[in-house]
């Protein structure tokens, strides 16, 4: 934790820099979603756009978490606490989506494969 005045003064510049990256990241997200010649993958929205958009968002979110929320020099205990939430969210989202994709009346069982 940056606690000395010097360290804090130093980190203020980091914050400005990170803020700028976040702004740029936002613009990039919008551009890849709206400008045709920046459209990755197939024409229109598809998995590629989804992955790209979420990757940028995750990158931005990690910047916020690590720099603004000081996770980069936070105590281990905090990692455990927060990670427990993230881990359970993954299980919730992942398993529900899995259950959705695996219905008993799946075509696989009926189309005679």
């Amino acid at each position: 934790m940056a606690d000395t005045p010097e360290a804090i003064k130093k980190s203020v510049r980091t914050y400005m820099f990170v803020g700028a990256i976040l702004f740029v990241g936002t613009i990039v997200t919008v551009l890849v979603a709206t400008v045709p010649w920046l459209d990755f993958g197939h024409h229109g929205f598809d998995a590629m756009d989804c992955i790209l958009g979420l990757t940028i968002a995750t990158f931005k979110a990690s910047l916020v978490a690590f720099i603004f929320m000081h996770l980069n020099h936070e105590k281990k205990a905090v990692y455990w606490l927060f990670a427990s939430g993230l881990c359970m969210v993954c299980s919730l989202a992942g398993l529900t989506a899995l259950a959705l994709g695996d219905p008993i009346f799946d075509k696989f069982f009926y189309s005679g494969h």
Binding site: L81, G85, M88, L92, L95, A99, D102, P103, I104
Partner: protein, 592 residues
């Protein structure tokens, strides 16, 4: 203290939930006869005219009582009693803290809980009545219930959701408070592995509440949206009901989504109920068998594993929803896995009794009954974990029997044990022995009278939601069409045994209530601050613990269960007793 407020409020809600169940049992046992006056006196004439048909319990009323019985018992009774009351009272004492980390948050959490509970129960007096779609509140049923009410904010079904959001907020605040307290307010020398098992159980319970409740809050908010602004989160396309015809909704939602979000809470919730009971019993057994808790470390690891696994087993409540083989297999596997840590814990408790010099004090009686009763509850759960067996048992009385064996003679017995155990700390007096015998033995017998026949009926195929106990199958003779009628004839009279058991049990709770209040003034005085000769820190405080709990900051020198040490004169060595030879291995490690 807030723990006591929680405890008394929760006991009141438990009594109310029990009463609802007594009325339901009447409807099951005697569906054609008017509710007798000894139960019906609670209602006003106007209420009876609205909700009873010629004095008989109607299906609608039964549904309402059923839904509210479940909700009240689980959310308003047992969770606040276990986590709110025992956790709040005992946890700070056991870790040597002056109070919870955020006392005002604690207070807020209690009042929000009470508010939520009152909102839910107030809806009994609305024209629509209280919620009536089961405690699981499945959509689309719950989305339509009370749909005729113009002002949706005054419909019982909506009030249920608002109450639920309050309760979730309350337990969220509570769990944040608990975990912070346990992490940061442990006294000098109280290292992780010196914490009593009780505290570990509370820590895990806190995490379960913290992480499992929010998805239900999300589901509750979405269902509220469905009801109030007519969205279709949980409403499929082309929904057609008898009363409304084709529903005027966009559709496109998924009823399954609600079940996923609900059971994501619902399963950890079971452990939120259970762990505080484990916690109480695991304190009482070593103190009364004068032996260390057997396998303390394996119990700690088990409870951590239990907490983690409980998040990935939820869909075993949903085998019948049309999930495919892959997902079912996954959840079946995790479900069977989770029984391992529970069995480890219960076995450790059992072995702790082995070779001890057992004192059959009042709490110990309850604790000893807890083990086999919970054992039955746990073991009857295994068939339900298996996909194939569940096809037959799903939604039958077998499920009710299983669940109630866990909760009623299991968890509640654990809590009775806890009340008897810590009563001398709270009041300075013991609870009466005679009255306890009058409470304990009939309760034990009645519990089995009520719940064992359920298992039998369930395997015969009795559905859990028959408001008339299967009577509809008897209205005409069993023939080739009504083949199920024969099975029902064979088992329907068990309904009367079970109902009689339930009412008798209600009668024998009266000794407990008398005991609880009279012992406060007239009970036998406890000898000193540590009447059970126990080792954990709560017994180092004055009785009752005043503001700030401890007179001077205690120091912990050793593990929590140092009973019958061969190198010791007395048969117990409290955590706070200074070692005779300072400077040896017993120095408090870890700093401030």
């Amino acid at each position: 203290m807030i723990g006591l407020q929680y405890g008394l409020t929760a006991l009141c809600f438990l009594a109310f939930g029990f009463y609802l169940m007594m009325v339901m049992r009447w409807s099951i046992a005697y569906p054609h006869q008017p509710l007798p006056e000894w139960m019906g006196w609670v209602f006003t004439d106007g209420w009876k005219a609205r909700w009873l048909q010629d004095g008989k319990v109607t299906g609608q009323t039964y549904n309402m009582f059923g839904a509210m019985h479940g909700t009240i018992m689980v959310f308003l009774g047992i969770v606040p009693l276990g986590f709110g009351a025992f956790g709040n009272y005992v946890t700070p004492l056991q870790i040597g803290a002056p109070d919870m980390a955020f006392p005002r948050l604690n207070m807020a959490s209690y009042w929000i809980y009470l508010l939520g509970g009152l909102i839910m129960c107030a809806s009994f007096f609305f024209e629509s009545g209280a919620a009536k779609s089961g405690w699981t509140n499945y959509s689309p049923l719950a989305g339509f219930a009370d749909g005729q009410v113009v002002n949706q904010w005054l419909a019982g079904q909506t009030q249920w959701l608002i109450g639920l959001v309050c309760l979730i907020t309350s337990s969220l605040l509570g769990s944040v408070n608990f975990i912070t307290t346990i992490i940061n307010l442990r006294v000098r020398g109280m290292t992780w592995m010196r914490m009593p098992f009780f505290v570990w159980a509370m820590l895990v319970t806190g995490f379960l509440l913290l992480l499992a409740f929010p998805p239900l809050e999300a589901a509750g908010i979405m269902q509220l949206m469905d009801r109030v602004v007519h969205s279709s989160f949980f409403m499929p396309s082309g929904l057609f009901t008898k009363s409304e015809g084709l529903a005027d909704l966009s559709g496109g939602g998924s009823p399954l989504l609600f079940q996923h979000l609900f059971w994501f809470l619902g399963h950890p919730e079971v452990y939120v109920l259970l762990l505080p009971a484990f916690a109480c019993v695991s304190e009482i057994i070593p103190a009364n068998s004068r032996k260390p808790l057997w396998g303390y470390k394996s119990m700690v690891y088990s409870v951590l594993l239990l907490g983690f696994l409980s998040f990935v087993v939820w869909a075993h409540h949903m085998y019948m929803t049309g999930m495919g083989a892959a997902v079912s297999t996954f959840f079946q596997t995790t479900t069977v896995l989770i029984s391992v840590p529970s069995v480890v814990i219960i076995t450790a408790m059992l072995i702790s009794l082995w070779g001890g010099s057992i004192r059959f004090t009042t709490p110990m009686m309850w604790a000893c009954a807890f083990i086999p009763m919970f054992g039955i509850g746990g073991l009857t759960g295994l068939p339900l974990a298996f996909n194939l067996a569940d096809l037959h048992l799903h939604d039958t009385y077998y499920v009710i029997g299983h669940f109630h064996y866990v909760v009623a003679p299991g968890i509640l017995f654990g809590f009775f044990a806890g009340i008897h155990h810590w009563y001398p700390k709270i009041t300075g007096r013991y609870m009466g022995k005679t009255l306890n015998h009058l409470h304990f033995w009939p309760s034990l017998i009645c519990m089995n009278l009520i719940f064992f026949p359920m298992l039998v009926q369930g395997m015969a195929g009795f559905h859990r939601r028959w408001y008339n106990g299967g009577d509809a199958y008897l209205s005409k003779a069993a023939d080739s069409v009504n083949i199920f009628g024969n099975t029902v004839v064979q088992h329907i009279d068990m309904n009367i045994i079970m109902s009689m058991g339930a009412w008798t049990m209600a009668l024998f709770q009266i000794p407990f209530i008398i005991n609880l209040f009279t012992s406060w003034k007239f009970g036998k005085k406890a000898e000193g601050d540590n009447p059970w000769n126990a080792t954990t820190l709560e017994w180092a405080t004055p009785t009752p613990p005043g503001h700030g709990n401890f007179l001077k900051e205690p120091v912990t020198y050793r593990g929590p269960y140092e009973y019958s040490r061969p190198d010791c004169d007395s048969d117990f060595l409290p955590q706070w007793t200074e070692p005779k030879h300072l400077g040896s291995s017993a120095k408090p490690p870890g700093g401030h």
